[in-house]
Structures are given as C-alpha cells and as structure tokens.
Assembly symmetry: C2
Amino acid sequence: MRISELSARSGVSVPTLKYYLREGLLPPGRATGARSAEYGDDHLERVRLVRALVESGGLSIAGVRKVVAALDSPPPTRHELMGVAQYALARERNPAADPGWRKVAGALLDDLGWQVSEESPYRADLAAALEAAVAAGLEGGGRHLAAYAKAMHRVAQIDVRNLPPESPEAALRTVVLGNVLLDPVLAALRRLAQEDVSSRRG
Amino acid sequence: MRISELSARSGVSVPTLKYYLREGLLPPGRATGARSAEYGDDHLERVRLVRALVESGGLSIAGVRKVVAALDSPPPTRHELMGVAQYALARERNPAADPGWRKVAGALLDDLGWQVSEESPYRADLAAALEAAVAAGLEGGGRHLAAYAKAMHRVAQIDVRNLPPESPEAALRTVVLGNVLLDPVLAALRRLAQEDVSSRRG
C-alpha cells in the first residue's frame, strides 16, 4: 500500500508517518520510484504499536525507540519482550520509594511466591501506594493484602491470556493498551461489584 | 478532650476544626465554659471521616455535608449509607456517557446478575472506560469482560468484608480511603502479577 493508505488504515497522518520514518521508529518501505514506496501489513502493525505507545502509553520518542529496538533485536523469550514494554510504561515516579515499604512489598511477593525481577519498577509503585494508603489512615488494607493480590493475579491471567499470538507487534500493543486503558474499566467494575456485594448483606 | 487534643489526635489543625464546626460538619462539643468545650471519641471519628472525604476523596464542603447529613439521619440500611459515600466519590465526569456504551455496560451487569441501582454513577464510568478502550484500538478486552468482572467481584468482596463494624463513621471512612487509595495498590499488584504469569509461560 502507498503511504496515504497506510495513513488511512492506521489513523496516523502522513506527516507523522514521515516523522516516524525519519526517527527510525518505522522501517522504510520498498522503494517503487524516486519518491514513492510500498508498505505492507507489517508496517501497519508497527504504526499501530507506535501510535499506542505514544498516544495511550504517553511514551517519549526515546521510550518508543527502546521498545522498537527490542522488537528489531528481540530478547530470547517472548516474556522478556513483553517485559520491555511493560517496564517502559512505568511512570518512573517512585524511583526512591521508602526502603521500609519496599521491604514490605518484597516480603509480600516472596510470601506469594511470585516470580518478579528485582528490576521491576512496579515494586516501587506498590511500595509507594501502600505507604500513601497507610499515611492517609487506611487500616485493615494490609491484613487483606494477600487476598487482594490473589484477586489481581486472576486479572493478570486474563491479561496474559488475552495477548494476541499472531505478531509480537500486536501483542506489545495489547500490553500497552491493556495496561493503560483497562485500569479505569477495572476501577468501575470494582465499584459496581461493591454495590452488589453490599446489597446482598443489607 | 480539649480542641487542642482533638487536633493532635486527628492531625487536623485547630483553625480547620473550627471551620468544620462553623460549617456544621462537626457537632459542637459539650460546653465547659464560656470559651471552652469538651470533645469525645465520636468527635474524633467524625473529624477523621471529614478529613478523609476532603483530603483523600477530594470532595467539596457541599459533598461532605451530604455524607454527614446521611450520617445524622441515616437511611434504613447500612448498605444505603455506604452507598451515599460511594456515589459521592464518583467524579461526575461521565454524566452523558454514550447511550450505546451505557447499554453494553447495562447488559453486562444483567448477564452477571449484579444488583446495581440504575442511579449508580459507575454505570456511566464503565461505559466511558469501555468506549475509550475500544476507541484506542483495544480488541479482545470485550471478550474477556465477564472474566474481568468476576475477578473484580472478588476484590469487592474483600473491600466489603474489610469495612470496620464498630461505627458508621469508621466504615464510611474506609469506603472513602479504600476506593481512592487502593486503586494504585491494585494497579501495581496487577502488573507484578502479569510478570509472574508471563514468566511461567516463557
């Protein structure tokens, strides 16, 4: 397809596509003339991924380049490739989470037997979120932390099962969109379910 | 206790306590002199609730007054009282959610057999969140929506079980803090669990 069709099918404007090409986020098409090139479905998949990373994931171009580089020289396992995108989405706001709360978070993961790298940015996210909850005066949450974790493990099982097997691009795009856009869906479902649970208790 | 001790124990400054008194959010203490009054543990509980509604819940004074009014003339069931706080926390950003997506959300709740009032603001939240996810290109989420809902129902069971039985003030405070402050905890747990699930698949 021509670049105009690539634009129409991906919803990304031609000038933005040319920007992606210049930045190396999108590989060049097959030259069909001095000023024209032909693009394939793999380009379309790549554009959709880049768009999701930029628009939904809020990544910088440097952040997108990191994910794209991992696609072009993939790590040994699909698990590691998905991890590149998942870690890139972390908001890097909790680099210096309180060491005490990091220990609490780490102990929880150990107790649960979860396999999570020490490098995961979400360890610090969990530590910071727990600290904020307790600082605001929430009691009892800690008592039930393992139960909450097990419920969220079921959510994660659906997330991972949900990844399309076809192409790594499509799977990475689902990692991005699923993490960014399903949190509000889950939050609404949680509150609707609270009403159901509560109504049955009276 | 004197107002200074109420301040020390609640973490709310004396001028702010006086403001709560003037606004009727906190009932007056027992007068012990022309310019002094004595406060009890019920005042402390009330202050903690008001603080949670204002600081964590982000409610306006009018919003707080609504919750406090429900406490002072409670509805017939505890379920309805908790609902007053839960609905007050809704951000009212989706009053006009797309009717098509509202139908999708409603059909899901019907299929699940959940008892949720037509008045719940979280119906519109769910509709808007689903619409945004699909607009951004997330596929497959819909297929698994019922599975996600069931996992979040388990979360809600922990939420409701977690409500302290002692006083309605303490229970309402937990509704507020639990809804506002546990979402980030759940989001971090979800991502940590994704890594665990994914690592076992390779």
